[in-house]
C-alpha cells in the first residue's frame, strides 16, 4: 500500500473533473485520479452543443434559458441553481473559446448557434438558436480542449486509478482510497478537499448511449459511506438512439431540421407537441415514440422502432453539420442517411439524480448540512439544475459551470484548512472488497448477473413505469444482489485485472439500480423522465420535492433504503402545466 498527500484530489477526468482540475491546479497541489485515460471519458460522446444565450444569431436572454431549464425539468429544478448556470453559461462558452475550442462559426466569424430540444424564445413562443456547437462533435472538442489545457497547466493525472472508497474522519473529508489497475496495488490519497466528478450510471440499462465504464462509481462510494443520493428515479431516455444498439444520434439532427416519422411516414410529434414538434423535450419525445410503437405504428418487421428522417436535408448540410452521426448510420446500420431514414429508439442516456450538492459544489449529508471538504460536479452530482428531465446541451453546460465552481471552491477550502488525520487502517474496506472477490470460489458470473440486471431495468424501469413493474424490478434486483454475494472472477492476477474491475462495477450498478427502483416506486406521480402509468399526472401537493435516499445498515450487517424528501427551491417561476 502507498500513501500520498495532496491538497485537492479530483476523482474522474471527464469534462467536470478536468474543468475543476484546471482551476484547482492553479490554486492548490492537485491530483486527478481517473479510471480511464482522460480523453476516453464519455464527455467526448456528447454531440449537439452547449447552450448559452450569446444571442449571436438571434435575440436571446439568459432568463429565457433559465425558464426553459425549469420548465424542461418539470419544475423539480432548484431555480437558484438554474439561474446561476444559465447566467454563467455565457462566460463558460467564451472561456472554452479562449482555451482554443474550435466552435463552428457564423458568416461574421462569431460562434454559431443552432436550435435544440426545449430551448425557446420568450418562454415557449418558438424554438431559439441557442446551442453553441462544433459540428456534431461538441463534446469531443470540449474534452480535447480541456485536456489540452490540463497539459498546459501541468495537471497531475493518475491514469487508470480506480477510486473505491471515500475517507471521512471527524465528520470531515480525509481522502480517498484507489486501486491501481496496472499493478493491483492499493493507494491511499490523503486530501483536504475531494471533488467527485466520476460521471453517470447508464450501464444499468441494456439499450444505453453510455460507455461501458459508466457504472456510477462515485455515487456508490458516497452512498455506502452513508451519504444520500438525490432524485435517482429521474433517468433520461434520449429519443434517438440507434435501434437496438443505443448509440446516440444527436438532438442537433432535429435542430437542423430532422423529423421523427412512424411507419406511415407521419410526422407524429405534431400530435404530441404542436408548437415545438420534434424539438419538444426529450421525455416528451421518448414517450411519444413508445406510444407510437405500442399503438402499432412502429417501423420494421417487429414494429419496435421509428425513423429519424434526414433525407429532405441537403447532403452538404449533413456533411457540414452532422458528419459523425451520419457516419454512425453508415457504419453500424449500413444505410445511407442522404436517402434512407434512420431506425431509432429511445436509449438510456443521463442520470438527473446523484450526489446532492449546493451551488458551490459542496456535498450535502442531509437536507441542510454539508460534508466539509467534499465536492461533486457533473453527472455524478445533483445540484439540481436538471430536475425531473434535463434539457439537451445542459449537461455540457453543467460540467463547465459547476466543474469550475467546484474546482475553485475545493482549492480555496484546501488552502484555508488543515489535513484531517486518516482513519485507522484507511485501506481496510477496499482491501477486503478486492481480496474477497479475488479469492471467491462462488458459481455466479459477472456477465450473467449484469445481463439480467440490464434486462429487468429495460423491462420494468424505463420510459413507462407502473407500481407493478417497479415492484418486479425491486424484487429482481434484490435477488441479483443476493446472487452477487456468490460471484467469482476467473482472473486472480494483479496486473490489469479488468475481470475484478468489472465485478466491482457491477456491485455499484446493483446498489444504484435498487435506489432508482425504490425511489421510483415511492414517487406516485408522473414528472419529467419519471412516468407512472398508474399515476399519470404531476402531483405538486405531495411530490414537488426531491427524493433523498440513504443506505441504512442494520446491526446484522444487512442493508435497506430509507427515503426522505427535500424541498425544491423556487424563485421566479410557479409550476404550470407543461406543454410544448
Amino acid at each position: 500500500m502507498q500513501i500520498h498527500q495532496y491538497d485537492t484530489v479530483i476523482v474522474g477526468a471527464g469534462g467536470a473533473g478536468m474543468r475543476a482540475a484546471i482551476e484547482s491546479t492553479q490554486r492548490s497541489r492537485t491530483a486527478v485520479l481517473t479510471k480511464l485515460y482522460p480523453t476516453r471519458s464519455h464527455t467526448g460522446a456528447a454531440q449537439g452543443g452547449m447552450c448559452a444565450a450569446l444571442a449571436n444569431v438571434e435575440e436571446d436572454n439568459w432568463e429565457w434559458h433559465t425558464f426553459d431549464t425549469v420548465k424542461g425539468g418539470d419544475y423539480l429544478v432548484d431555480q437558484d441553481a438554474a439561474e446561476i448556470m444559465c447566467k454563467e453559461a455565457i462566460d463558460a462558452v467564451l472561456d472554452l473559446e479562449k482555451m482554443g475550442l474550435p466552435f463552428s462559426r457564423t458568416e461574421a466569424g462569431r460562434i454559431d448557434q443552432r436550435r435544440f430540444g426545449g430551448h425557446s424564445r420568450n418562454h415557449g413562443e418558438a424554438p431559439v438558436r441557442r446551442s453553441c456547437y462544433a459540428a456534431d462533435r461538441t463534446g469531443h472538442m470540449i474534452l480535447q480542449t480541456l485536456f489540452q489545457n490540463c497539459v498546459k497547466h501541468g495537471v497531475e493525472f493518475f491514469n487508470e486509478f480506480y477510486v473505491l472508497d471515500l475517507l471521512i474522519n471527524e465528520g470531515k473529508t480525509a481522502g480517498v482510497v484507489a486501486y491501481e489497475l496496472a499493478t493491483g496495488e492499493i493507494h491511499v490519497f490523503q486530501a483536504k478537499a475531494v471533488v467527485f466528478a466520476s460521471g453517470g450510471t447508464g450501464k444499468m440499462f441494456k439499450v444505453s448511449s453510455n460507455a461501458h465504464t459508466l457504472t456510477g462509481d462515485g455515487q456508490a462510494v458516497a452512498y455506502r459511506r452513508g451519504l444520500p443520493l438525490e432524485d435517482m428515479e429521474f433517468f433520461q431516455f434520449h429519443p434517438t438512439g440507434i435501434w437496438r444498439m443505443g448509440i446516440l444520434l444527436t438532438e442537433g439532427a432535429r435542430g437542423e431540421g430532422g423529423i421523427l416519422r412512424n411507419k406511415d411516414g407521419e410526422r407524429f410529434m405534431e400530435r404530441y407537441a404542436p408548437v415545438m414538434k420534434d424539438l419538444a423535450s426529450r421525455d416528451v419525445c421518448s414517450r411519444a415514440i413508445y406510444t407510437e410503437i405500442r399503438e402499432g405504428r412502429g417501423c420494421g418487421p417487429e414494429g419496435d422502432h421509428v425513423y429519424l428522417d434526414l433525407t429532405h436535408l441537403p447532403p452538404e448540410q449533413l456533411d457540414a453539420k452532422l458528419p459523425d452521426i451520419t457516419e454512425f448510420a453508415r457504419t453500424y446500420l449500413g444505410i445511407e442517411p442522404y436517402t434512407d431514414p434512420i431506425p431509432i429508439q429511445p436509449t438510456a442516456h443521463y442520470a438527473m439524480g446523484g450526489i446532492p450538492t449546493n451551488v458551490e459544489g459542496e456535498v450535502l449529508r442531509n437536507n441542510t448540512d454539508i460534508v466539509p471538504g467534499l465536492y461533486a460536479a457533473g453527472e455524478v452530482a445533483c445540484v439540481s439544475v436538471h430536475g425531473a428531465n434535463r434539457l439537451g446541451t445542459n449537461s455540457l453546460l453543467d460540467i463547465n459551470v459547476f466543474g469550475r465552481r467546484a474546482g475553485i471552491a475545493a482549492a480555496d477550502y484546501a488552502n484555508a484548512n488543515e489535513f484531517v488525520p486518516l482513519p485507522e487502517n484507511p485501506e481496510e474496506l477496499v482491501q477486503t472488497m478486492v481480496e474477497q472477490l479475488r479469492e471467491s470460489t462462488g458459481t455466479e458470473s459477472v456477465g450473467q448477473i449484469r445481463k439480467e440486471l440490464q434486462e429487468t431495468m429495460d423491462t420494468n424501469a424505463m420510459v413507462y413505469r407502473t407500481g407493478d413493474t417497479l415492484k418486479q424490478a425491486v424484487e429482481d434486483i434484490a435477488a441479483l444482489k443476493e446472487r452477487f454475494k456468490n460471484v467469482s472472477i476467473q482472473d486472480k492476477g494483479y496486473r490489469y485485472n479488468t475481470d475484478l474491475l468489472e465485478a466491482i462495477e457491477l456491485g455499484n450498478l446493483l446498489d444504484l439500480a435498487e435506489v432508482l427502483a425504490v425511489s421510483a416506486l415511492a414517487r406516485e406521480e408522473s414528472r419529467g423522465g419519471h412516468y407512472r402509468e398508474d399515476f399519470p399526472t404531476r402531483d405538486d401537493v405531495k411530490f414537488m420535492q426531491h427524493t433523498m435516499a440513504y443506505q441504512e445498515v442494520a446491526a446484522d450487517g444487512s442493508t435497506s433504503i430509507r427515503l426522505d424528501y427535500k424541498p425544491v427551491v423556487t424563485t421566479r417561476y410557479q409550476p404550470m402545466e407543461r406543454k410544448y
Binding site: 467526448g44 482555451m99 461574421a108 469531443h140 461501458h212 449500413g334 476467473q490 490489469y496
Partner: protein, 256 residues
C-alpha cells in the same frame, strides 16, 4: 404536414430485417500475461454471433462467457473515445468500429495488440510514450496580448482550414501503424504531428514557430517516409499523411 409512406431501399430493409442469421467464428487472439508466462501465445476462441456485431462485442462475449482473463481497454463502444485500437487481421482498427462481417469471418479473425508500444497484458499497451510525444508538441492554444472581451473571431474558412485534424481521438492507430515509429521509438509519430497541425493552422494561434522548431528536430516531422499507413489506419478518416506534408511545407516556407 405528413408525407406518404417512407421509401425503403434494400439497405434499409437489410438493416431492419428480423430473424438474425447467426454464424460461427473463430477469433485467434495473441495473449500475453507476464504474471503467468514470459512469452505471448495465440489462443483460439469459437463464438456464435450475428455478423453485424462489432469485434468489440465478440471480445466482450469471450470475456463475459468464456474467459474472464482476456484483457483489453474499451469504453464508448462507438469509435469516439479511442480506447480499443488493436490489430485486427493485421490492420490497425478500433474494435468497436469494425463489424465482424467486414473482416472475413469465414477464416479465423486474428487480434493482437498495436505495435511499437510495450505490451503490458494481452491487448493492453503502455500508452505513456504516446501521450508524452503529444505533450511535447505543445497541444494547446498559444496567444499573445490581452484576451478579447467576447470570443476571438474566426471566419468559417479559417475554421475549416484545420477541421480535419480536430477529429483526432488519440487512439494511437496511426502512430502504431507507422514503420518509422516501430523502428525508432523517439520519433514523435503521426498523432503528435496531427495535433501540432491542429494548432499550427488555427488562425487564432500564435505558437506555430515554437511548434515548428520542435518538429524540425531530427526525430521530428522529417522522419516521415510517406508510406500512408497512418492515413489508412485512422478510424476518424483524418488525412494524416497530408497533414504531415502540410507541416513539412510550413517548415520550409514558414507560411501557415
Amino acid at each position: 404536414m405528413s408525407t406518404p409512406t417512407v421509401e425503403h431501399s434494400a439497405a434499409l430493409d437489410a438493416a431492419e430485417a428480423g430473424g438474425i442469421q447467426l454464424i460461427t467464428v473463430t477469433f485467434r487472439i495473441r495473449r500475453f500475461n507476464p504474471e503467468e508466462h514470459p512469452d505471448p501465445v495465440w489462443v483460439d476462441y469459437q463464438l456464435t454471433l450475428d455478423p453485424k456485431e462489432r469485434v468489440l462485442d465478440a471480445l466482450n462475449k469471450i470475456k463475459w462467457e468464456q474467459d474472464g482473463t482476456l484483457t483489453y481497454r474499451r469504453s464508448c463502444a462507438h469509435g469516439i473515445c479511442g480506447s480499443d485500437a488493436m490489430r485486427i487481421n493485421g490492420r490497425n482498427r478500433l474494435a468497436c468500429k469494425t463489424l465482424i462481417k467486414d473482416v472475413n469471418p469465414e477464416k479465423p479473425i486474428t487480434i493482437e495488440a498495436i505495435k511499437g508500444l510495450t505490451v503490458l497484458k494481452d491487448l493492453v499497451v503502455d500508452m505513456d510514450p504516446f501521450f508524452q510525444a503529444y505533450k511535447d508538441v505543445m497541444p494547446f492554444l498559444i496567444t499573445k496580448g490581452n484576451e478579447p472581451t467576447r470570443e476571438r473571431l474566426q471566419s468559417a474558412e479559417d475554421r475549416e482550414r484545420f477541421d480535419d485534424t480536430t477529429k483526432c481521438i488519440l487512439c494511437a492507430a496511426c502512430t502504431s501503424s507507422c514503420p518509422v515509429f516501430w523502428n525508432d521509438g523517439q520519433y514523435f509519430g503521426p498523432a503528435a504531428i496531427v495535433n501540432a497541425h491542429r494548432f499550427i493552422f488555427d488562425s487564432r494561434d500564435e505558437g506555430a514557430e515554437q511548434r515548428l522548431e520542435i518538429l524540425n528536430d531530427r526525430e521530428g516531422v522529417w522522419r516521415c517516409r510517406t508510406t500512408f499507413n497512418c492515413s489508412e489506419a485512422c478510424p476518424r478518416g483524418i488525412e494524416v499523411t497530408k497533414a504531415i506534408q502540410e507541416v513539412k511545407r510550413a517548415l520550409v516556407t514558414r507560411r501557415f
